[in-house]
């Protein structure tokens, strides 16, 4: 009886997730399959099915711009994710100190996210311009040694991009982590206080491990942002100086649209997906094993509960007959 009711509700869960199934399979799986197929074709302006084997991949890995893009994404990814997470958590913790004007501060940290990058990118360009921006202003104040013009040099431009990226993205990380902090059980704080644990230790060693969900969310969001970084580059450097700040997504998007080489763009897209496929496969394996264990445990728990309930009610009517 219990089994049947559970299964019926499960059916409802499946009905409830029809949009999820539709989007994950109907949109992403099918679209990605098409993309991979097209990467083996000579598609130029519009996708077609003239097979050319691995020709696009060959050219891709001989293109110095692609190789620079791949190197950049790792440097950019690691530095901007670490920077964002650390800065975001510190901000969230400080925001959590029962401060006045919390709404104002939160809006200040979030506003960069709300603004079109076309213009904020330009403002950052100006601010990092040696003759116009922060460097010029500081030198006018008499600090002749002051240097802050990362975008002008091919070796440092990527760091300028990271600074602007942190400016734009930290607010969201802060908001997610703050939501996570607020989800931590109040009793924990009481207990920590009673035990005389200093605040900072509570935040670092007790609260942080308890908000795995929020951290995972913020982390994945950052990863997605890094992999798909496009607007920031276009607005800030257009991939320059030279090709020093090119990124894979920029490569893909420009080939699919303006450069009218869909086959090549799709090959690059497929290469972008390769490491993600590996990661997700590993994760799926882990999840699958965990789920199998959990399921066994859940079955037992439900069975026990149901038995208790029925015993308490003293009846055995079929609950979900309709």
């Amino acid at each position: 009886m219990a089994q049947r009711r559970w299964r019926l509700s499960s059916l409802q869960a499946i009905i409830g997730t029809i949009p999820l199934i539709g989007v994950s399979v109907g949109v992403f799986v099918i679209c990605i399959i098409f993309s991979i197929l097209w990467s083996f074709t000579s598609s130029k302006l519009f996708p077609n099915f003239d097979w050319v084997g691995f020709e696009n991949y060959d050219r891709l890995w001989q293109t110095s711009r692609w190789i620079v893009s791949v190197q950049n994404i790792w440097l950019f990814g690691v530095l901007s994710i670490v920077g964002n997470m650390v800065f975001g958590y510190v901000l969230a913790v400080f925001m959590d100190q029962r401060i006045r004007m919390e709404d104002t501060f939160r809006s200040i940290f979030l506003y960069p996210f709300a603004m079109s990058l076309v213009v904020t990118g330009l403002v950052w360009q100006w601010m990092m311009d040696p003759n116009l921006g922060v460097q010029a202003a500081m030198q006018n104040l008499g600090l002749e040694w002051f240097r802050f013009a990362p975008l002008t040099d091919a070796n440092t431009a990527i760091y300028g991009v990271i600074v602007a990226g942190i400016w734009q993205g930290t607010g969201v990380t802060m908001a997610i982590l703050l939501a996570g902090l607020r989800g931590v059980d109040q009793e924990i704080w009481k207990a920590a206080k009673v035990d005389g644990i200093p605040n900072w230790r509570t935040y670092l060693f007790i609260a942080l491990p308890m908000m795995r969900g929020a951290i995972a969310t913020a982390f994945v969001l950052q990863c997605v942002g890094v992999v798909r970084v496009y607007d920031l580059i276009i607005a800030l450097t257009q991939g320059g100086p030279g090709i020093a700040t090119q990124m894979p997504a920029v490569f893909v998007i420009q080939h699919i649209t303006n450069r009218q080489n869909v086959g090549m763009g799709m090959a690059a897209a497929a290469m972008m997906l390769a490491p993600i496929i590996v990661l997700i496969a590993i994760r799926a394996l882990v999840m699958w094993r965990a789920a199998a264990q959990e399921k066994r445990a859940a079955k037992l728990a439900i069975a026990a509960e149901e038995r208790e309930r029925l015993e308490a009610a003293g009846i055995a009517a079929p609950v979900a007959a309709e």
């Binding site: 130029k44 519009f46 013009a149 257009q238 100086p241 649209t257 303006n258 009218q260």
Partner: protein, 412 residues
Amino acid sequence: MKRFVTAAAVSAAALLGTTAYTQAAEVEVIHWWTSGGEQAAVSVFASEFEARTEHTWLDTAIAGGENARAATMQRILGGDAPGAAQFNPGRQYEELIEAGLLLDLTELAESEGWRDFMRPPSTMAACDVDGQVWCVPVNIHSWNWAWASIPVFEAAGVEMPTSFAEFLEAAPAIQEAGYIPFAIGGEGWQINGAFGVVQTSIIGLDNREAILNGKDLDLARELMPEVFETFRSFKPFTDEGSANRNWNDTTNLVVTDQAALQIMGDWARGEFAVAGEVAGEDYECLALPLASPTVSTGGDIFLFPKQGDPDVEAAQLEMASMMVSPQVQALFNNAKGSMPIRGDVDMSLADACMQKGLAIIEDEANIQVDAQRWLTEDTNAQMNDLIAEFWATDMSVEDAVNSYVSILENAD
């Protein structure tokens, strides 16, 4: 004027066999003319179209050529094709022609004699594919200009150069006087444009065509090293801020007499005009190469995606006819600051710099055909990447030439 209108209407109507009248239709036009001066130009087209016909111009402006072209392509694919769409002359739309997605303008073009009045001929060639006409060229923009600040040259005690070699010789003096000799921005297309002009001035138009159109790899190996070397010799005369600058901020350096010279297309005139500068007094426009000035035939074209609705197609033809008519050409190009696609229009309002250009364009020997005409977007973009990388890094000339040749070799 009136007679012309009637003639156009009749010819367009005749093409479709609907003699007496055509149904009023709406024609949606996608274009990327969104800034002030461009707005005035597009308004000429729109209001002339509505004044001369009973049809309506539905304006869909999407800033940025890439955005507008991508939107057009995607909407054609989605079955929501616009009535007309702006492109640059070249190979951007060859696949649209092959797929039969565009309205054939051949009959209209032949009845109005487009092939006869368009000049230079290469303008028409952009739309004339295998004897059929697929698009309408509306204007010509030339890349081959340099903008020089007269006060800077005076202050540095240097004569206006008559060749790049002379300029490079004088550049240290300008630098010592505290000015930026060579103003350039960091965007790929700025660098590439300047490179193209340097290339033309060193190897000449014929060799350029043999390399870019004829794909003569041996000639490229022979001639390109000097081009790359000369181009690099400009590098020491740029400023620190160049790596990340828009073209107009770069022009502003010349406008405000901080820099001596910028290589930039004829649209840069607008920046001087807005700042109230006068050609010949405050600044000089130098047609390039200095020894034998040329005009490059960039510009804009409109193509007309098929609609499957005879009324709209009739209106599309009337729009095409309107765009090339002499009166509209004069009004439009004066507003846009570009050169008309026919010689018989009144451009007496144009400023001194454009008059220079109009004189040069009359001789066919002075025409530098746009590289986009010969190379696909893909090949072109690969060259852009190469030249941007060469400019920004210390890539050797030898490597650069090898890459250049290999891009040409694989071009289709």
